[in-house]
Amino acid sequence: MSHYRALQAETVKFRGHNGDQGEAYFAGPTAAGNYPGLVVIHHLPGWDEWIMEVVRKLAHHGYAAISPHLYFREGSDSPDDIGARVRAAGGVADAQIMGDVAGAIAYLRAQPNASRKIGVIGFCSGGRHAYLAACTLSGIDAVVDCWGGNVIVDNPKDLNEKRPVAPIDLTEKLNCPLLGLFGNDDANPTADQVNRTEAVLKRLGKNYEFHRYNGAGHAFFNTWRDAYRPEQALDGWKKVFAFFERHLAATATSVAAE
């Protein structure tokens, strides 16, 4: 595993859904080379410091990573205040988020040192969005769903104008390898829901791998929360990097890895 200690990290402008211009956090190695791109989808509470740490971590491992601020249309207030308003309004429509993810992919492809490969990783509600991206967007080579809940929607009343389709019902269209990481103590998704999701992926012959962790619940990667489980998280990150290495060939074209 190569490490890239010299990074460039900054807030950038990107074009999202409907061509709207918004902010994103971008980080990538500064050494000469061609780097695969990763879109990092943040969780519902917002575009927080932890998600930016994740972006830099991915860059450290040889990826050009970008996390679009999915609530940028709400203005320039602090991300937590914006996140609270978005929550009160019932969240953001799936279609808009897919448009923003597509825009972030376009940003990555336009970078002069971009390789041809693109991956997506999402956490919590962002894990669900990553699953949706794998099923609805083209040009993605690998997707990681970290404990995305509501991929299976057991109560049809939970579907609405913003979230009209359960992601599980789009699985037939999943067109890239999928890695799923889950804590067995999680309440959403439950272990049973994870099993049912895997059963659908298996039945449809999809390229996937699921890993389940005992002693971990939701958000066990998150070092800012009591939910953090270092042993499980370290193993989970290994799984993530092995998966992206396999499907995005992270170090194949770089010339200056340490």
């Binding site: 509470p45 937590d80 019932g90 009591d226």
Partner: protein, 100 residues
Amino acid sequence: MCSYIVEKTALIGSAKGRKGWMRIDAANVYFDHPYHSTLDHVLAIDFTNEGEGGRDRVAVELSADSARALVARILAALSSGEAAHGGPAQAAAESMTATA
């Protein structure tokens, strides 16, 4: 998992935020992942003024147990306050209910 479930209530009052005192007319209440707390889940309350666009808020994130304890203390304070002041707290509560 982020649930999108929000309990909303109208209210009458004021709150002090980063810009000083503000009138508030609503509260959004939810039990979900926090932004600031290290707890897995919190009872969060955002006090806002929807009538002025709802952009500013006064926010709290509480553990479930402390939120329940707070509810009990709020009711106790109202009860003792009503006894001490001859009912204005009750009148205010009824007024608040009427506008909710």
